[in-house]
């Protein structure tokens, strides 16, 4: 221990450092490679033209066409309904899925749990807009397609957070209810449900808030609400109307965020 000189001290061991450098190098190389592939597919003339385009759009957007606002009230109502009904539907389906997926409540860990997990992953990996695209093609344009799309996407989100909440319940409380001679359904309703209720409410409100944002744009693919109006305005290049719609969406999002924050505060 005597021959440690000050010059011997290094932050990391050489092997560790080599590893780190290799990792960074691989990342940079990958980035450059990806960038090259991407720029091959890009028409650069358009890109250089972008500032001019931006100015043009900007000048066409202002001033916003406020006279368009009254026409947007019905679509706004539709958007709220898509989000709310979709959230309710999604939560109702997510609850049983979450109980099947949670390790401590699943009736069969070998068959039902993987199925439930697959439902959750499928729902989570596909954006509500893609669900809407499919549903509009299948059952036609309208609110129903939007509601189902929102519900399908919400299953995975609510299901995942809820099954994690179920797995985190206090096992002692459940054990105590079991010890009274309660039937499995009673253990569920007395031991587990009270413990996850706050989580369920706050997850649902949180998802509702997200769904308001998503339902505002679902109309772009024909699933009703504000997005439908936006699509129409975009088609005729009425950028001043688009701006009004954007401002309305922004205001709705701010209000819904405030509501969801208040509700979550009240629950906890």
């Amino acid at each position: 221990m005597t021959n440690i000189s000050s010059s011997d001290w290094t932050y990391r061991t050489p092997k560790h450092r080599l590893f780190l450098w290799l990792g960074w190098f691989a990342l940079v190389a990958l980035f450059v490679w990806c960038w090259r592939i991407m720029s091959q597919d890009t028409i650069w003339a358009f890109v250089w033209d972008a500032p001019a385009q931006a100015l043009d759009i900007g000048s066409r957007m202002t001033p916003p066409e406020w006279g368009y606002l009254p026409e947007l009230m019905k679509p706004l109502w539709d958007t709220l309904n898509i989000a709310t009904l979709g959230t309710i539907g999604g939560v109702l389906i997510a609850i049983p899925v979450a109980f099947l997926a949670a390790r401590n409540t699943t009736p069969s860990a070998t068959i039902l749990r993987p199925i439930a997990l697959f439902i959750i992953v499928t729902s989570r990996s596909i954006n509500s807009l893609i669900w809407a695209l499919l549903l509009v093609a299948i059952i036609g344009p309208g609110l129903l397609a939007g509601i189902i799309a929102i519900a399908l996407r919400s299953i995975g989100f609510v299901g995942k957070l809820l099954y994690e909440a179920i797995e985190e319940t206090d096992p002692r409380q459940i054990e105590a209810i079991t010890a009274t001679g309660a039937a499995p359904t009673q253990v569920l309703t007395y031991g587990i449900v009270p413990q996850i209720m706050p989580a369920l409410w706050s997850i649902s409100v949180f998802r509702w808030d997200i769904n308001i944002r998503e339902s505002a744009i679902l109309g772009l693919v024909g699933a009703g609400g504000l997005g439908l109006k936006m699509n129409a305005s975009l088609a005729i290049l009425a950028w001043d109307q688009v701006l009004v719609i954007l401002i309305l969406i922004l205001a709705t999002v701010v209000v819904s965020e405030w509501v969801s924050a208040q509700v979550r505060k009240a629950i906890i």
Partner: protein, 271 residues
């Protein structure tokens, strides 16, 4: 009343928690179960109502062998066994009343319990028990609004709500301060005396066990190493249960402010 015959438990990990425990519990008898951490006290208590499945042996409650029962028959028998837990194990987000009424779950149908429509008799009895443990005015509070001692009283009321023939008590005072611990133990012994109820009390605190229990069973590494009256707990016996340690400070001082340190250091290191 309760008879254990050659009860053993080996966990999946290969750890043997209990080996060949036999015990005979008379009506109205209070048994203190002492032993170092990991000696199998908790496992023994949970093997009786099969919260932990015993690997072999028999558990006779009256003339029923609990080990041989099917799930639904077991639920039926569990109603006869009240259980009180270390950290109260109340359902914290339910009201005190709901927690007490949950002692009836084994008797009522799912819908009745879901809608909270218990029979008038049960509700009356729940109020009576809450009064007995001194919490009548707290009935509509949420369980997590109560103090530790109050929560344990609710736990006792819940167990009694089952109309049990036997009480299993798992470290009732481990999370309580010394004074509350004594109050809870006194309440427990009074209640058992009133109803001629036998109880197996799993307890860490040797002086507390000596003060309140009629019979002491010492467990070490899953085996019964002592079974007798509390005054038979000599230093030699304690050493056999817990391993070598200086046992002198052990006293029966009523005003003891600190929980006497009976930490079984050697045994814990060995375990």
């Amino acid at each position: 009343m309760l008879k254990l015959n050659g009860l053993s438990k080996t966990y999946k990990t290969g750890d043997t928690a209990l080996s060949d425990v036999s015990l005979d519990v008379q009506k109205g008898q209070l048994i203190g179960l002492i032993g170092p951490s990991g000696a199998g006290k908790s496992t023994l208590i949970r093997c009786i109502n099969r919260l932990v499945e015993p690997s072999s042996g028999e558990v006779w409650l009256g003339d029923v062998d609990l080990v041989k029962l099917s799930r639904s028959e077991l639920r039926h028998q569990r109603r006869r066994i009240g259980m009180i837990f270390q950290e109260y194990a109340l359902v914290e987000r339910l009201t005190v009343m709901e927690n007490v009424l949950s002692g009836r779950l084994g008797y009522v149908s799912f819908w009745r319990s879901w809608l909270r429509r218990y029979e008038p008799r049960d509700i009356q009895r729940a109020y009576e028990l809450l009064d007995r443990v001194g919490l009548l005015q707290h009935a509509d509070k949420r369980a997590d609004a109560l103090s530790g001692g109050q929560r344990q009283r609710v736990g006792i009321a819940r167990a009694l709500m089952q109309d049990p023939d036997l009480l299993l008590v798992d470290e009732p005072t481990a999370s309580l301060d010394p004074k509350t611990s004594r109050q809870i133990m006194r309440l427990l012994t009074e209640i058992c005396a009133e109803r001629d109820l036998p109880a197996i009390v799993n307890i860490h605190d040797v002086p507390l066990a000596q003060a309140f229990m009629q019979r002491i069973v010492g467990l070490r590494a899953g085996r019964v190493v002592f079974d007798g009256a509390p005054d038979g707990l000599s230093e030699a016996v304690l050493t056999e249960i817990y391993g070598a340690e200086d046992w002198n400070p052990v006293g029966n001082d009523d005003d003891a402010d600190d929980t006497p340190v009976v930490v079984p250091k050697v045994a814990e290191v060995l375990a």
